[in-house]
């Protein structure tokens, strides 16, 4: 993701805001993102107008924090409004949103679309995403008329805020292609008995109303989060040729979107959340993702991804790592299998847990211990 279009301001100058408030909605290839605020204070000045496309990292507004207000500091004077996306984001200025780590993959590496120089420049000037334009020129190249057509379409019917599945598919294509090109994946599979989890869930849910019941997915996610905390080689980012373990565990949860999209937004500090809280967050996240509203921090922050195909899936899935993360854990469908327990064969619920991990960062031995740790966590669901 390189740029986003500001589609909605939820605050105006003078409004009091506090950390965690949603202040604006920005539309990107990944859908509409709600911009959270990390400061408490007062909106001093709006810097970016509605419908402007600006590069990631561009200040959107000035906020006078409580501290600044006390000290009587004036808000810094903006130098110039960064309108053209060709310009580098201004340096040394406070940033409202942290730039997501996937900076260069969406436009640059998606199978090299042919674009005429004139079309490329016009698209850049007018903030048209080339991934959304069909080419009509020589050899299917995107030519200037195609951009003009798409500009016409854009100005004719104002698109509703939300998901652009074509753009999302292009973003997935770029990320996955980059992952397979750059990351030496290794794969491990571990079969785990989750009968204890099922029994615990049945007991726990027996007295709860449906909307408060826990699902197996919450146990799986928590077990991965706890294991990731103990095994930092699977929780972090590989960037610019070196690995940085993350200080917190933000588990990205792969969520399928009707119509063919896929997103893996982060559940922050999943290792520290109680199961009930985790479950509530998961429900909220799925609902918001499918409605096309994800928060900026959720897009950027995931430190490891979990993918579960659920009951309609197959027995095992082998994921592709979402760069710059270094691991993805997959859960297959839970199946009833004859299993040896305490010397006797009996029916047990078995799930295949898989790991795809970055061999630049970890080795199979560590991966095996990591998977075993997840399996171990699932043996004692009451402690999760």
């Amino acid at each position: 993701m390189e740029a986003g279009t500001l589609v909605e301001w939820l605050v105006k100058p003078g409004d009091r805001i506090k950390r965690g408030d949603i202040v604006a909605v920005v539309e990107t290839q990944k859908g509409a993102i709600e911009i959270e605020i990390f400061e408490t204070g007062q909106v001093e000045q709006i810097l970016v107008d509605i419908h402007s496309k600006v590069p990631v990292g561009t200040p959107l507004a000035w906020i006078r924090t409580e501290l600044e207000a006390k000290a009587g500091l004036a808000a810094p004077k903006p130098v110039a409004q960064p309108a053209a996306i060709a310009e580098a984001p201004p340096r040394g200025l406070p940033q409202v949103a942290r730039p997501p780590p996937l900076t260069d993959i969406v436009l640059g590496e998606a199978g090299r679309v042919r674009v005429s120089p004139a079309a490329r420049r016009l698209a850049q000037e007018r903030g048209i995403d080339l991934a959304t334009v069909a080419g009509s020129g020589p050899a299917g190249a995107i030519v200037r008329a195609d951009i003009e057509r798409s500009l016409g379409v854009l100005t004719e019917k104002k698109r509703p805020v939300g998901l652009d599945l074509d753009a999302m598919r292009a973003a997935i294509a770029a990320a996955m292609a980059r992952s397979k090109r750059e990351i030496p994946h290794y794969y491990l599979e571990h079969r785990v008995d989750v009968t204890a989890c099922e029994q615990w869930l049945t007991r726990t849910n027996a007295t709860r109303p449906p909307d408060e019941r826990l699902l197996m997915g919450a146990l799986m996610l928590k077990s991965v989060a706890l294991a990731a905390r103990r095994f930092p080689a699977f929780n972090g980012f590989y960037r610019d040729g070196k690995y940085e373990p993350a200080s917190a565990v933000h588990v990205g949860m792969a969520i399928t979107i009707r119509g063919g999209g896929l997103a893996a937004p982060a559940l922050h500090d999943a290792d520290r959340l109680a199961l009930d809280e985790l479950m509530a967050r998961m429900r909220d996240l799925v609902q918001r993702v499918r409605a096309g509203r994800i928060r900026s921090s959720e897009i950027a922050d995931a430190t490891i991804t979990v993918s579960s195909l659920g009951e309609r899936g197959v027995e095992a899935l082998y994921g592709i790592i979402y760069p710059p993360q270094v691991a993805i854990v997959g859960f297959g469908k839970i199946v009833a299998r004859p299993w040896l327990v305490d010397g006797a064969i009996g029916p047990r619920s078995i799930v295949a847990i898989t790991l795809a991990a970055d061999h630049r960062v970890s080795d199979g031995h560590a991966g095996a211990l990591f998977l075993a740790e997840i399996g171990g966590q699932l043996q004692e669901p009451d402690k999760l």
């Binding site: 004139a118 190249a141 030519v143």
Partner: protein, 332 residues
């Protein structure tokens, strides 16, 4: 009130002859020199009648020695005369290349600006008359490589009539390339037609969708191609370079910035050609304006064949130009 200027009908050959006659009348320092220019009247009959009119001192037949008489012309120019040297074809001019490149083009530099060579060298170029591989090539692009000279390619009656005088006023050597297929071209010319500029390219047909850039004998094929393209609702602009050195970048870029597409039609061979130079300049100066790949229509990379059908197949023709334009537009 202006009186409407009367027009006369004449051939390109007549226009060149009128230009020479006019120069001979206007400046006593002007003389014509070359093989068969006198008694025979010129190998393409350009100088027919001039010997009788101006006498052997000013219409000078020379031996078959291109290096010798071109060198003599350069010497005369350095000594204050304004010679017009005719070389039968560009193929033969290679015998005089040493004089043109090593003497005429360099003398101002080598003499520290004490001497110049204000010579005009005319020669025939191009294929289409079944003169085979030693008389039919288009090497004007080679000459356009040389600093120190100017290279002109008159394609119209106006330019055939008007470029010579302006060239003779230039303090340095000017080469004029006359395409052999143009000599018989007949058209109307203002009776008072005179000198024209030798610096600017000309837009021979305005258009919006693609620039067809050409010169010399290919101009008329390119205009025919533009007409054919118009029948398919493709609006092309035709640029006549007129001067091959220096190239009029401004006119080329103005056109390409408007149409965003270009096809270059050049009867020279493709590799290392003038068309390659023009293509490169467009990329250098107008890259971000381009909306499609630049096309080229050049001669096939063979010695120009003798048989008519092969000769025609070897050089740019209307269908090739139409096809190249459509390919650049993605409508092939």
């Amino acid at each position: 009130m202006t009186t409407p200027s009367t027009t006369i009908e004449l051939s390109y050959r007549d226009a060149v002859r009128e230009a020479i006659r006019d120069a001979l009348h206007r400046d006593e320092h002007v003389f014509l020199m070359g093989e068969d220019v006198g008694r025979y009247g010129g190998c393409y009959a350009v100088s027919k009648g001039l010997l009788a009119e101006f006498g052997p001192d000013r219409i000078r037949d020379t031996p078959l020695s291109e290096s010798g008489f071109t060198g003599a012309g350069i010497g005369a120019a350095m000594a204050g005369m304004r010679p017009i040297v005719e070389l039968m074809t560009v193929n033969f001019s290679l015998l005089a290349l040493d004089q043109i490149l090593n003497t005429a083009a360099t003398v101002r530099h080598m003499s520290g600006n004490q001497l110049g060579a204000p010579i005009v060298i005319r020669m025939a170029t191009g294929a289409g008359r079944q003169l085979a591989a030693q008389h039919s090539h288009s090497l004007e692009g080679w000459y356009a490589h040389i600093p120190g000279i100017k290279v002109l390619a008159p394609a119209t009656l106006e330019d055939a009539r008007g470029m010579l005088w302006t060239a003779l006023q230039d303090p340095d050597p000017v080469l004029i390339f006359e395409n052999v297929m143009l000599y018989n071209m007949v058209g109307k010319l203002a009776a008072d037609a005179g000198a024209v500029d030798i610096e600017r390219a000309a837009v021979r047909r305005p258009g919006k969708e693609i620039s067809l850039i050409t010169y010399g004998g290919s101009l008329w094929k390119t205009l025919d191609a533009a007409t054919a393209l118009a029948a398919e609702s493709i609006d092309s602009e035709v640029i006549d370079l007129r001067s091959l050195r220096p190239l009029d970048d401004a006119t080329i870029m103005t056109s390409v910035r408007k149409t965003r597409r270009a096809v270059i039609v050049d009867e020279g061979w493709r590799s290392g050609s003038l068309s390659a130079e023009i293509c490169t300049r467009i990329i250098e100066q107008a890259f971000w304006e381009l909306d499609g790949p630049i096309g080229r229509v050049c001669s096939e990379e063979v010695p120009i064949p003798y048989p008519r059908h092969l000769e025609n197949a070897a050089i740019p023709q209307v269908p090739k130009i139409v096809a190249a334009a459509k390919a650049a537009l993605g409508r092939a």
